[in-house]
Symmetry: D2
Subunit: 137 residues, 4 copies
Amino acid sequence: MERSSESKLRVRYAETDQMGVVYYSNYLVWMEIGRTDFCLMTGFRYSAMEAEDGVMIAVAEANCRYRRPARYDDEIVVQTSLTTLKRRTMTFSYEIRNIASGEVLADGFTTHVSIGRDGRPCTLPPKQFGFLSEFVT
Amino acid sequence: MERSSESKLRVRYAETDQMGVVYYSNYLVWMEIGRTDFCLMTGFRYSAMEAEDGVMIAVAEANCRYRRPARYDDEIVVQTSLTTLKRRTMTFSYEIRNIASGEVLADGFTTHVSIGRDGRPCTLPPKQFGFLSEFVT
Amino acid sequence: MERSSESKLRVRYAETDQMGVVYYSNYLVWMEIGRTDFCLMTGFRYSAMEAEDGVMIAVAEANCRYRRPARYDDEIVVQTSLTTLKRRTMTFSYEIRNIASGEVLADGFTTHVSIGRDGRPCTLPPKQFGFLSEFVT
Amino acid sequence: MERSSESKLRVRYAETDQMGVVYYSNYLVWMEIGRTDFCLMTGFRYSAMEAEDGVMIAVAEANCRYRRPARYDDEIVVQTSLTTLKRRTMTFSYEIRNIASGEVLADGFTTHVSIGRDGRPCTLPPKQFGFLSEFVT
């Protein structure tokens, strides 16, 4: 069974900066796209959990190592895996590659805490926890 | 009495694109900064109206004419005025200038509709309408 | 022959604001994605023209009318057509729809001027002009 | 002598997301504002180095720990210090606080490599290295 997800995207002009490469904060946007697709793969949509259970997932830490630049119009793939899953926290890992060259452009991780409508940490809904637990690497 | 507001900002690296100038959608972000400051000048904070009255102001139309490029680290001023005010709609006009050269970089307008918590158009709260009505150009 | 292009995208979390809908400047980013795909359809890639001919296309005006909000995770289609083409200028028109509901979320246009490496207006390279001229609506 | 810089900013509406707080990638944009101001404080402007020496500073790694959310209209201060300086690399550290409450919202670091016009790592221009070396914490 495949335990990581792949998200493809094409670099937008808006994502470049005057150095001619993708501005560094945009990699975190791409990681979020990776997380969304990863969660979809496991069986739930993040947007539904936020609307139905009132549980949101806040970012506690983000880390990215930049290895090679991404450029306008490049085809990119974000490979996402779930490396840690606890009742209230989880860690996703990412590898961002240029599809044409196969080169790794960046890698990193994000850790998250589930929080309720009151803004305080809470345990993940059991159903959602179950979905994710099948896919821990 | 001064009827327009001035908002100063410095161009961020993140706002440039690979053409070496500010990416065109960012001017709309600057217009929103102009609107925020304009409203502050008239006596209310938009964030308070959204929180207390449950009234939000949605954008109905935005227009921008780009005359000269803005570049990284440029000091910019957004001059904002309120050119139309009705019970449910209003139009702001903007002139965006380079402070050092005095040149106009862009101008434009945005029109807005006030909407309630149900997402439907509603009249502006009388207090807020009063604040703004003093400053129509 | 199809004279308009269609670009599909899914709304990113990063594109929402605290009103729970897509922030208004992001529609201009989507229009740029529409332009890119439109140009691809006609036979050239904008990135190649910028690199090989040294000709860039600057935005002279942008306009967007917002009709209904777009929300996180919505599937969106940007339909782009070329409504005016002159030697130095062109106008693209856009219709942005929610794919699931078919509703029009926004429409608008952008006008553009071709500029050379010196930053001054220039005529479009004949090859590129030819590509585009086949697709004027 | 003050060895860290402070950059003040007000949270933009565009920076919020539908969770009602600042979207996580924007903290990296704020860190870049902190770096810009830090460098200004030491005696050079990054934009000048890029234009005159052809030396750019690429990001090699970014890390951010998110402690409390930032919200629309909050007044924020980014405190930036230079914690490591070598011939080709440097590390900046950041603390991002809410001015009104004094609370730390986030902290993190970025590491950088100086690169020349050919895109390869190079040593920092001696003048710039000198400016910075006075301010290492």
